[in-house]
């Protein structure tokens, strides 16, 4: 068994930003383990632009954004293990990884989980019908197109209006495919408004809200799908069924944080975010194990992943250097209209501002968010509109966190 101060599981945007932050906070023995041949994670296949506007002040493609962080990693003396996958993590921070050089066992002082997320598959959806070729999760199609250089189909239906699906609608159109429809089972899209406009509306691709794919047709290769409208309980309305001929069905029906390692290590998971329960330093309930990026909560923008990873990197560095936060903490709770709040715990009396990240339960017009602990109002924020697809951030000032002992609740009211 070898020893390292900090092991980071995953070399995508979260892992890289966390490594840089930890290094700059004073921990010099940092290792990144990544299962791919090169750093960057899923950004490597995201060749469209729109990355970095918030964080870097310029609009980059995915590979460009990744290369900014890869350069920062390479400038520092950070060890990188590529083509190596972590197969086991224990609560006492022993990391087992498998690669073409063999099996590596590392005793770490701290671990940052940055494994990202996976796409929900067709199987999980229980779509009726056959199971031919030509059905892809949107990200798989994106990889085959952008990394391998092949087209995956000519006539396309997309189920789900997640951002990857929207991006792929535009991408396939630009490569000469005809996108017949995007079906979204909810009465609103889960994607970013800018993607709806730039990827669908600009190309006259119809978005059918409250619609789903009811049946898949074709024995060998997909021959078509039956789409249908759904009622408020998301049940198919029989007389709205109609057939669309297509050779390709892309699924963009949600992202699931990849927390198998986390669960095996016995780290408690929040069953709304599907990520670990963490404090404002992104430390899980197992001291010394941190999590950030899409393995913790699915983010809208990579810029926010980088922000969150810096919190985890700094937190892990403090843990290694001085044991981290040891004071009291309170939990956070989602109140009226709020689906979840992250972090789920906040350390009090640390002298630092704490930002809460949250998503609303459904689309709203103008709303006011109130952050309270018992009767103490800690923060208020007004938004012109709010939607589940756009994460909200509300910051609590340090001095207001000094003496609270009751849970912090975030709720909204329509104004």
């Amino acid at each position: 068994m070898i020893k390292h101060d900090l092991v980071i599981v995953g070399g995508g945007p979260a892992g890289m930003a966390a490594a840089v932050a930890a290094y700059d906070s004073g921990v010099k023995d940092v290792v990144i383990i990544d299962r791919d041949a090169s750093l960057g994670g899923i950004l490597q296949q995201c060749i469209h632009n729109g990355f970095g506007l918030h964080k870097l002040g310029e609009e980059l493609t995915g590979p460009e954004y990744a290369s900014v962080y890869e350069k920062k990693v390479r400038e520092r003396n950070i060890t990188i293990y590529n083509d190596m996958m972590v197969t086991c993590l224990t609560a006492d921070k022993i990391v087992t990884a498998q690669g073409s050089s063999g099996i590596l066992k590392i005793q770490a002082k701290a671990v940052i989980l940055a494994m990202g997320c996976r796409e929900r598959s067709r199987g999980a959806l229980n779509i009726c019908g056959t199971r031919p070729a030509g059905i892809y999760s949107a990200g798989t199609a994106q990889k085959l197109m952008n990394c391998e250089g092949y087209s995956v189909g000519k006539k396309v239906v997309i189920l789900g209006s997640g951002d990857i699906g929207l991006i792929m609608a535009r991408r396939m159109t630009l490569e000469g495919a005809k996108v017949e429809a995007v079906c979204e089972i909810m009465p609103y899209s889960g994607g970013l408004t800018r993607n709806i406009v730039q990827c669908l509306e600009d190309y006259n691709i119809p978005l059918y809200l409250s619609h789903t794919v009811a049946e898949i047709h074709g024995q060998k290769r997909l021959e078509g799908v039956t789409i249908a409208q759904v009622d408020e309980n998301r049940r198919i309305i029989e007389n709205t069924k109609r057939f669309i001929a297509c050779d390709t069905l892309l699924l963009s029906v949600g992202l699931i944080p990849e927390n198998e390692l986390t669960k095996e290590a016995g780290i408690p998971i929040d069953n709304i975010t599907n990520g670990a329960i963490v404090d404002e330093n992104r430390q899980t309930l197992v001291p010394g194990i941190f999590a950030c990026g899409n393995v913790l909560q699915v983010h809208d923008l990579v810029d926010y992943v980088s922000d969150e990873a810096e919190l985890a990197g700094n937190g892990a560095a403090q843990y290694i250097l001085n044991g981290g936060c040891k004071g009291d903490s309170v939990c956070t709770e989602a109140g009226n209209g709020v689906r979840y709040v992250l972090p789920q715990r906040v350390n009090t009396g640390t002298g630092k501002d704490v930002s809460l990240f949250l998503r609303v339960t459904k689309p709203y017009g103008k709303v006011r968010f109130t952050v309270k602990s018992s009767e103490n109002v800690l923060a208020k924020a007004v938004r012109i509109k709010a939607a589940p697809g756009e994460m909200e951030k509300i910051t609590i000032k340090a001095d207001l966190l000094n003496n609270i002992t009751e849970p912090i609740t975030v709720e909204l009211e329509e104004v």
Binding site: Q98, K105, A133
Partner: protein, 478 residues
């Protein structure tokens, strides 16, 4: 060349028979209409080794099942096919059903099933704490087990091939002509194979094959069974296979762990027009969920990772049809093999060998060098970390994980593409290695599996298929 034996169908029955015949100094050719073996009911069934209490005493089913269980476990050992003697429980929800359990018990005694007992609902819940509170009693059958049916078929065909049998894929029989005591078999793609004896193991299509051979005396009634397979996180709900009291539609909806630690629920039983009708239906999904929850209410169906349909090859008499043709000399039918066909596959192979000895004018001389064992395809998976590390140092391709959900290495995928019967398509790799069978259902690994397939076959990426010609994944270069 004229083969001694032609076997139609590379399912578990055809495969196990080919393995049995490969013991002898005779030539065997298996014809399979699909791009891989195990593509019919052998790939999509419950994977249960039945104790043998269900078939009526005196039937071929009862005989084959009870004789077959230990033979099957032995074959699984020799072929390194994962199995587990986890035992089964048949649960009753009412006094009427409890009486039915007693009848099954008596039938089991008559069929010489060993070790059975009937326990109360509370005792059953001690054995399986997640069983429904409404279970009033249960029949415990310790000899029952679970096995991976497609791995068994792949291993049986592979072992037969290692011992000299041939496999011709994509050979859809369109014509069977008898010329001077020789069977001349033509395919829809205009290929031709000749053989002295012809054994019909064509599963759901065995009635059509019988008809082509001039002996169409039975009719297969295809019955579809839909299943929902759940994530490994649900595999812990039960350790035994939980059956409900059987009815005229079969053994009902079961809840069972699989050998790979997933949870399997199903099957439904619905008559379909053709064996190719493997549609997943809303009604089927709803039925599986309703009945599985009746046995084990805590099953979390949000953890479904895939659904599939298998088509049983049933026949009106309700028994297996295993006999030499009364009309066509040299033709043997092994048909209507629905449940407990998997449990019976080895005993059926031996029984058919007996029929051959009685009816076919051919000397069955044992090969001196026959090897009934097969290299363990899971040797790497089963190694300790230390052993793996040593092995990877010699074979670095086993270090690189391609399928992250099931932790399948590049070396194991290449083995599956090189070892009899070689995997030719993405689904074939999946059944041999589990690559793509996990939570993401191939979302991450499929492009890499495609690349390895293309490389191993010296083909373009575009030529790689999901399950044979016509199921290409890519439509062109950008």
């Amino acid at each position: 060349m004229v083969y001694d034996f032609i076997i139609a169908g590379a399912g578990v029955i055809g495969g196990m028979l080919a393995r049995e015949l490969s013991r002898y100094n005779i030539s065997v050719c298996i014809l399979e209409k699909e791009n891989d073996v195990s593509m019919g009911a052998s790939k999509a069934n419950s994977g249960i080794v039945h104790g043998g209490f269900d078939p009526h005493p005196g039937t071929l089913k009862a005989k084959m099942n009870v004789e077959g269980v230990d033979l099957l476990y032995q074959a699984a050992e020799d072929l390194h096919v994962p199995y587990k003697k986890n035992g089964s429980l048949v649960v009753a929800f009412s006094e009427t059903e409890a009486e039915h359990l007693q009848m099954l018990y008596d039938r089991g005694i008559e069929n010489k099933v060993e070790g059975m007992s009937i326990v109360s609902g509370d005792e059953a819940r001690k054995i399986e704490p997640n069983l429904s509170e409404k279970v009033v009693s249960a029949l415990v059958v310790p000899s029952a087990g679970i096995i991976c049916p497609y791995e068994l078929t792949i291993a049986a065909v592979g072992n037969a091939m290692d011992n000299g049998a041939e496999l011709k894929r994509n050979f859809e029989i369109s014509e069977i002509i008898k010329e001077d005591d020789i069977f001349v078999i033509n395919s829809s793609a205009k290929e031709q194979v000749k053989g002295r004896f012809f054994i019909n193991c064509a599963g759901a299509f065995s009635d059509k094959i019988a008809e082509l051979a001039g002996d169409g005396f039975f009719k297969i009634i295809p019955r579809a069974g839909e299943y929902l397979l759940l994530d490994k996180s649900e595999g812990i709900r039960v350790s035994h296979t939980i059956f409900q009291v059987p009815n005229e539609n079969g053994k009902g909806i079961l809840v069972s762990p699989t050998v790979d630690n997933n949870l399997l629920t199903g099957p439904t039983a619905a008559k379909v027009d053709t064996p190719d009708d493997k549609n997943i239906t809303q009604k089927g999904i709803d039925t599986v969920i309703e009945y599985a929850k009746k046995s084990v209410p805590s099953v979390d169906f949000r953890q479904v990772i895939t659904s599939f349909t298998g088509v049983r090859s049933s026949e009106t008499t309700g028994d297996f049809i295993i006999k030499a043709s009364e009309k066509v000399q040299g033709l043997i039918h092994v048909a209507a093999i629905d449940s407990p066909g998997l449990s019976s596959c080895v005993s059926i192979a031996k029984y058919v060998t007996g029929i051959i000895k009685e009816n076919c004018n051919i000397e069955l001389e044992l090969k001196k060098d026959w090897n009934g064992s097969r290299e363990n395809p899971h040797a790497f998976r089963n190694m300790s970390d230390e052993e793996k590390s040593e092995y990877i140092k010699l074979h670095p391709e086993y270090g690189k994980i391609v399928c992250r959900c099931e932790k399948v290495s590049e070396g194991e995928i290449r083995d599956a593409i090189r070892r009899n019967p070689i995997a030719l398509d993405i689904d074939g790799v999946k059944r041999r290695t589990r690559s793509g069978m996990g939570r993401c259902q191939g979302g991450f690994c499929m492009p890499n599996v495609m690349k390895i397939l293309a490389e191993e076959n010296g083909a373009e990426l575009q030529a790689v298929t999901k399950k044979g010609n016509g199921s290409e994944q890519l439509t062109g270069r950008l």
